[in-house]
Amino acid sequence: MATDTHETVVSACLDSHGGAIGMPQLCGEWIPHQIFWLLVALAATFFVMSRIALPRIAAVLAERSGTITNDLAAAEELKNKAAEAEAAYDKALVDARAQAQQIVAEAKAEIQAELDVELAKADAQIAEKAAESEKAIAEIRDGAVKSVTDVAKATTKELVAAMGGTADAKTITAAVTARMKG
């Protein structure tokens, strides 16, 4: 307290050692002082706020909300563009798939046709070979049957001769043929 060392009373509301008598707030002597400086400070605050601070903050807030709105609009536009691009991509994909399927089907048909021709050719060859083979087999079989008949005739003749009989060729042939069939 500045008045501590001071023994003279400088105010009706202070004792000789600078302590307060009563509430300093209610001391009438200081009230004009308080009001004067309050008004000065209030005026300064009001000037600063209304002339400088508030318009500036309002401008900044408006600018920010404008920027945000613009950015949101831009984002919306970009989103639409992205959706369009996606749709185009999907369409391209579907087209490509359809085309691929078509190509596959064509290739398959072509291959099938070629395969059919080759198969037919092969079948014909096989049939020809089979016919030839059958003919050869038939010849061989005939040959074999004839040989067996000859051998059987000869053997029969010899057997008959050995048993002391005589047989004419006609009888032997008929007997062998009957046996062979049986």
Partner: protein
């Protein structure tokens, strides 16, 4: 605030009792305005510690609202966002409580809010001086609001503004009685507005000072220091709430002036 061993005063009984007990409480001495230059008497024009702290207040306002928003950043700096937060807070309060047509009074209400808020918070700094604990100062604020709002009401609505006191919904014989009560409560508004603010801030500072006095006793000092911490926390809350209440009541009263019909 220095402890004085002994003081010789006109009110001898009080001080003798105090100095004999070893405990010396001068909780109100913190509100004495002292001259900054020299020890002379404090006249109305004298620069005092009140002047100093009001100047600090104005500088703080400039720092937060002017220097803080200097960058005008789309992405705000920290101090700028504090200023914008207060701006949005008060703006929304006026819109919600008073209505959209009251937005043109925003600078006045914002000035009041910022002044009271900064005064309350700066007063919580140790060794500082609290302007809002002065009843004269809050009375100027309160009566200023009251007179401005009353004049505004009469300018906007003429004598129809008196309809504020005349309840058309009430039964006929009750209307004069209600009108008297309404008039009284209307004139109590500035008194309660100013005394609430000054009383809250004074009470907080006095209580802290009394606890600080107890801290001089060795045994009681831990409890006293804990008490100071707790009360200080409460005072931080009260400082904000009182600024809010002062502003929102101003908005409520302004609403009565703009729309006197109930």
């Amino acid at each position: 605030m220095k402890l004085r061993k002994k003081r010789v005063t006109q009110v001898a009984t009080e001080t003798e009792a105090a100095s004999e007990g070893g405990l010396v409480f001068h909780p109100l001495d913190q509100f004495i305005p002292t001259s900054l230059f020299g020890d002379g008497a404090v006249h109305w024009y004298t620069p005092s510690n009140l002047t100093l702290w009001l100047a600090i207040l104005v500088l703080a306002v400039v720092g937060v609202f002017v220097l803080g928003s200097r960058g005008r950043g789309i992405v705000p700096s920290r101090i700028q966002s504090v200023g914008e937060l207060m701006y949005g807070f008060v703006y929304k309060m006026i819109e919600d409580v008073t209505g959209k047509d009251a937005v043109k009074y925003f600078p006045y209400i914002m000035t009041l809010f910022v002044f009271v808020l900064f005064a309350n918070y700066l007063a919580l700094l140790p060794m500082s001086y609290s302007p809002t604990s002065m009843i004269a100062i809050t009375a100027v604020l309160g009566f200023g609001v009251f007179i401005a709002i009353t004049v505004l009401g009469f300018v906007k609505h003429g004598t129809a503004f008196l309809g504020l006191f005349w309840m058309k919904d009430a039964p006929g014989f009750l209307r004069p009685i209600i009108a008297i009560i309404e008039v009284i409560s209307y004139f109590v508004r500035p008194v309660s507005l100013s005394i609430r603010l000054a009383g809250n801030i004074t009470a907080g500072h006095v209580v802290i000072k009394v606890f600080a006095g107890f801290a001089a006793l060795t045994l009681a000092s831990p409890a006293a220091i804990l008490g100071i911490v707790a009360i200080y926390g409460l005072e931080i809350l009260v400082a904000g709430i009182q600024a809010y209440v002062f502003t929102i009541l101003t908005c409520v009263y302004l609403k009565d002036a703009l729309h006197p019909a109930h």
